[in-house]
């Protein structure tokens, strides 16, 4: 979209870049902080060392919440997918009365702010004596993940070309074979993305975890929150840096297929 007016061009680019800088600023703070030698919020750091990295990897107080978050994230992602996928199939592919209502129903958790759910669960699981258990956190996280995971799965299904299913049937595959050999494999990438969404949503979830995860099932965000308010050392910066690294890694890996395909094509051309 070429435009006349180079000055407006430059202005827009400059403004966009400034905003981009604003967005990315935390990373330039958090990463150096993780190498800081001072047990405080001092920035720029007075000195650099790896001591706090060592501390993170050797403190059970941090490692256990990390493990908890992994477990809870995975379990919640699985449960969410198990609930959402069949429902999405029904809503996208079938006609039935009340379809709109069911869709709305599944979207409801989006309308309620986390703090409200947090105290609600605190009371609810408290009565059931389930507070501070894995089960409670998994159930709660699943519930709040359902809307967004449903959106991703439904989008995946909507973009699916049903003609390939008809083709498979015309070629002799029973409905079951069609589902297993054609439908699922083609949907798999979309489902993996959806499951990843659910995992990250649970992994990063702080408010509900603050109220109901307690000490036994403490999640990483909860530990981070406590660390900010109680500790002063930059171990939290270490965790943050590692999390940023993980996010970047996931982004790169998700492009892996495209990168691998491009490399293959180049190799073939050279051959």
């Amino acid at each position: 979209m070429a435009r006349s007016g180079r000055s407006t061009n430059i202005l827009v680019a400059a403004a966009a870049s400034l905003v981009g800088l604003f967005v990315v600023a935390p990373i330039f703070v958090v990463v150096p902080m993780s190498f800081s030698s001072a047990p405080s919020f001092e920035f720029p750091p007075p000195g650099y060392w790896l001591g706090y990295y060592e501390k993170f990897f050797t403190t059970p107080g941090w490692l256990i919440p990390l493990a908890n978050s992994m477990i809870i994230g995975t379990a919640s992602a699985l449960l969410t997918m198990l609930l959402v996928v069949p429902a999405a199939f029904a809503i996208v592919r079938r006609q039935f009365r009340g379809k709109k209502l069911v869709r709305l129903f599944l979207m409801l958790p989006l309308v309620v702010p986390s703090i409200v759910m947090a105290i609600g669960y605190f009371e609810f699981f408290g009565r059931l004596r389930l507070n501070q258990t894995y089960l409670a956190v998994i159930l709660a996280h699943t519930c709040v993940s359902i809307p967004i995971v449903f959106l991703v799965v439904a989008a995946s299904l909507k973009g699916f070309d049903r003609n390939i299913e008809r083709a498979a049937i015309s070629l002799g595959a029973t409905p079951l074979q069609t589902f297993a050999l054609v439908t699922l494999p083609v949907l798999r990438p979309g489902f993996i993305v959806a499951a990843l969404f659910a995992f990250v949503h649970s992994f990063d979830e702080a408010v509900i975890a603050l109220f109901i995860s307690g000490r036994d099932a403490a999640t990483l965000p909860r530990k981070m929150f406590d660390s900010i308010t109680v500790d002063a050392d930059p171990v939290i910066a270490v965790v943050s840096t590692l999390l940023v690294l993980a996010a970047v890694l996931i982004a790169v890996l998700s492009r892996y297929k495209d990168i691998a395909a491009a490399l293959r094509r180049r190799a073939r051309r050279a051959a």
Binding site: R166, A167, A168, S170, L171, G172, P175
Partner: protein
């Protein structure tokens, strides 16, 4: 073309309604011989694709029956019908290589691995894509994907081949090339084929027989040239080819005189089959109008030329006969001297004239 004249595929009074009120397909009956190439031709929504889908088993008829080789087909599940289908958007399995795509129906039939390899190889050869076996569909062009779809639909030797507007997404040159390919494959294999299209020239070039659909019903069935020359209704006359239509009344059936509104009386043998005083339409195709004075067995009239449009190889002369507009299509060579504003003599052989009831 060697083919049995026995009915191989029989559609018996097929009806299909989605809402219980309107019929998407109404009273469709057809008999297709083994090895025949039949085209379903019609505008969008005419019921041709719905009928095809009923043959394929993806739609259930509301009423009527389908028989294949004497056996009832519409009671059989779609995955047991042994029919090859080519879709407009190819519908290749994106997560499989070309070889595995083509081998899919053979794996469904539990053919031994060596057998599968052999047949897939032959199928690839047949469509000229032997070097592409290990590629994925997204790496192939549209035309190549369509050829793979064809190979996949034929590799298991189905009883019938169904094609649903397979060339719609391709550009003109590629389309013409693929038409030749499809015709060649049909000749080689002798497989009964049903081809759905809205492109009448495509249907004309490919088919042994044309079935013209309109609003869920079959308007006419026949050899392409017969349908072209002798359309049974105005719809068919206008859908296939171009035509001039002139209203008139039968004055004298014995001598074949028809009085045309605004143009005067003409002599046409066809009038003998009509009753005196009946309202008729004259159907005159532009390519049958030629410049020059008419002789015996020819209709003569004078055309006041209003415009000439040149297409390179042909030209269309637009003019008036009386107060009616007439289009004449001639080779550029023959239309060379014709100018706007002039009046020329025009003629048409009465054998090329055709009458239809008015309002039909």
């Amino acid at each position: 073309m060697p083919m049995s004249s026995e009915a191989y595929l029989v559609l018996g009074n097929l009806y299909k309604s989605y809402d219980g009120e309107q019929n998407a397909v109404a009273d469709v009956s057809l008999s297709v011989a083994k090895g025949e190439f039949v085209s379903f031709l019609g505008p969008s929504g005419s019921g041709k694709t719905t009928t095809l889908m009923m043959i394929a088993g993806f739609e259930q008829p509301s009423a009527g029956s389908i028989h294949l080789n004497g056996r009832r087909l519409d009671h059989i599940a779609s995955y047991r019908r042994n029919i090859g289908i080519v879709f407009q958007n190819y519908a290749l399995f994106p997560h499989m290589t070309i070889r595995r795509n083509i081998g899919f129906p053979l794996r469904m039939r539990k053919a031994p691995a060596g057998e599968i390899d052999r047949r897939v190889g032959r199928a690839l050869e047949m469509v000229g894509l032997s070097a592409y076996g290990e590629r994925r569909p997204r790496e192939l062009s549209g035309g190549q994907q369509q050829r793979v779809a064809l190979a996949r639909a034929l590799v298991f030797e189905p009883d019938i081949l169904l094609l649903d507007e397979p060339l719609g997404a391709l550009d003109k040159n590629l389309r013409e090339h693929m038409q030749v390919e499809i015709k060649r494959i049909h000749r080689e294999l002798g497989i009964t084929t049903i081809y759905v299209t809205h492109d009448q020239s495509e249907a004309m070039t490919l088919s042994d027989r044309l079935v013209v659909f309109n609003q869920g019903r079959i308007e006419q069935v026949g050899d392409p040239l017969a349908v072209y020359r002798r359309p049974h209704s105005v719809f068919v006359a206008e859908f296939i080819g171009d035509c001039n239509r002139l209203n008139g009344k039968v004055r004298d059936r014995a001598s074949g005189i028809v009085e045309l509104e605004g143009c005067g009386p003409i002599r046409i043998p066809e009038a003998a089959g009509w009753s005196h005083g009946e309202d008729v339409q004259l159907v005159l195709r532009p390519e049958f109008v030629r410049p020059g004075k008419g002789g015996k067995d020819e209709l003569s009239f004078s055309l006041a030329v209003e415009g000439v449009v040149h297409y390179g190889d042909t030209a269309v002369v637009i003019g008036r006969w009386g107060d009616k507009q007439i289009r004449m299509r001639a080779l550029s060579y023959d239309a060379a001297g014709i100018e706007e504003g002039s009046t020329i003599a025009a003629r048409a052989e009465t054998a090329n004239l055709w009458l239809l009831p008015q309002g039909g």
